[in-house]
Subunit: 192 residues, 4 copies
């Protein structure tokens, strides 16, 4: 069996289990059985259990760099913020494991916390840049406090993401689509 396939099987099993069982609950024995490999095989592919997580975090960090590369402002604040929020939530959805581990385990593994903090930073920059351009273009009221609005925007999205993924069983009755379509719109309209 090709090495990479096994790598992937292990990572997949790890990811799946971590969501259900947390990091500690995801024992190497369970990973092995979920991945359909021998327990010791895990250690031929990863130095130790923690390295599996590390690899996920690395992927996360690499992916962060790509975010918003091709983003282009349309000048329509509602459209733009909805797209930024969508990108944000797609990213989180694609990196649920790291996102959740960051929430749950960053006190144990500082590297995760560090990686995670890049995300809001990056998005805030994106939003602030957007806002400033729009203020100049007169599309946002000149009186708007750009920094605070940007922070609020990030916190709003972050709060929603945490709610969605940390309490998956009973979300605050705002499905993600509705959140993006309505709550973000509501927020955006205030700026016009």
């Amino acid at each position: 069996m090709a090495t990479q396939q096994t790598d992937e099987k292990i990572i997949k099993a790890f990811s799946k289990l971590v969501l259900k069982l947390g990091y500690q609950g995801t024992t190497t024995k369970r990973i092995a059985s979920e991945a359909g490999v021998n327990e010791s095989t895990i250690f031929r592919h990863f130095k130790d259990k923690h390295s599996i997580l590390e690899q996920l975090v690395n992927t996360y960090s690499r992916d962060i760099e790509q975010i918003g590369q091709s983003f282009e402002f349309t000048g329509d604040i509602v459209q733009d913020l909805m797209r930024v929020a969508t990108i944000y939530h797609d990213f989180v959805a694609n990196h649920q494991v790291v996102f959740l581990l960051g929430l749950r385990e960053s006190y144990r593994f500082p590297e995760i916390g560090q990686a995670l903090r890049q995300l809001p930073k990056r998005f805030k920059n994106l939003v602030v840049t957007n806002f400033n351009e729009m203020v100049e273009a007169g599309e946002i009221r000149a009186t708007a406090n750009v920094t605070e609005e940007a922070t609020n925007f990030i916190l709003l999205n972050f709060g929603n993401a945490v709610f969605t993924y940390a309490y998956p069983t009973a979300r605050l009755q705002v499905p993600m689509k509705a959140f993006l379509a309505e709550n973000i719109r509501t927020f955006a309209e205030h700026l016009q």
Copy 2:
């Protein structure tokens, strides 16, 4: 030594340790040494380790009922929202342990998740009620989408709380006081 004192010592030790070390990191051995009691004494006071957490959650649930009992709207939206936000953050600050455990461990202990979800619900109700009254009184634009604004308000505060307590080392550079004074004000002003 009176039973209750020992109970409290154990709960205190547990709470202190959980913040630093998480639930699993908070071993009964460490609880005992932090509380200054024998490890087996813990099991005379609590059925098992999980029951310590349960008791904290019960206190949390009881305290939630008290929230906003005596809250009175002034009719000034900025003032009111700032007060609601303050109450929210004070509550979270006083129940950090449960708040964090909810974030980290609710996937393992559904009861925590359940208890925690009461908080935003309750606050949302408080805010919605407030908003509706204000809309009637003409202090909030009639066109405002009350439910969404309330949700946004809650998510914003929740997001900030998570940031503050889950990543204590590197918060998004918004100290709580500033957040309450400025970010909430900014949010509130949009509604006028």
Copy 3:
């Protein structure tokens, strides 16, 4: 069961097994079953497996200090050397485990090597002192090379001890009693 009893049972079991099976062969599982305690009990009495060995080494080091405290030279070289040799071999016999572990494992646990090297040093000093006094008293030829003779004496005894304990099944056909009675006598007489 009193703590010390269990301590001793573990140490005894460890010692017995190490002689047969070496350090690595002496697994905690085997120690437990030999000592009649649960495997995890070992770790409540000793920080880790290595600490059991450490304790033996400490005892060894402490005992070394006592050696020869009450030794008094009779002035008869044959008698004196036979007594020194007897003390040496009794000491080794009473500390077989550490002696053997030193031989076998000192490359892994430098502390053992360090402790072990005290023994020949100490004995050499004892012998050199003895010799010098005797040279002055005219009981040893003035031409004798005291240091070299002392070294030879130590190496001779050390060699015999290693042979006896490292290859217990087939000693060089010199039983310890005979060695002390005859070989040491032979050595001693050369000095007169």
Copy 4:
């Protein structure tokens, strides 16, 4: 690659590692990496890990037969014993690995012990023969106890060898050259 080359590479790697790390510390993984071959290749060349050691022991046993074949007594006791001692120490130096493994692991692998015991036997014979001839020739005092002197000579050299190789970091401050030149001379002179 010729089979023998690989054989040798593995033996070489094994020998080098065993000196530093002992038998158990010399894992097949490390042997492979030191030898520059794949781990599983080892098992195509040797039935199992133990067989590598076996082969070394066989070489040792074969080499023992050669010892002293061409040795000729000069009749000068000092010269002769110094030469015997030199041959002994050269042999040990050339077979350090087996010598050390014998010291450390003979309790596990009796064959090593068996092989090792040949060495002192053989040398003792050599010395006894020598001594007897000299006694006849009047070069050694007729009163000398030949067997005991021979045993002492062997144990002295053995003791020195163990000290040198088992505690390489802190030998009893007698460098091998000095030992051969002076200690052996001292010993020899007593026989004249």
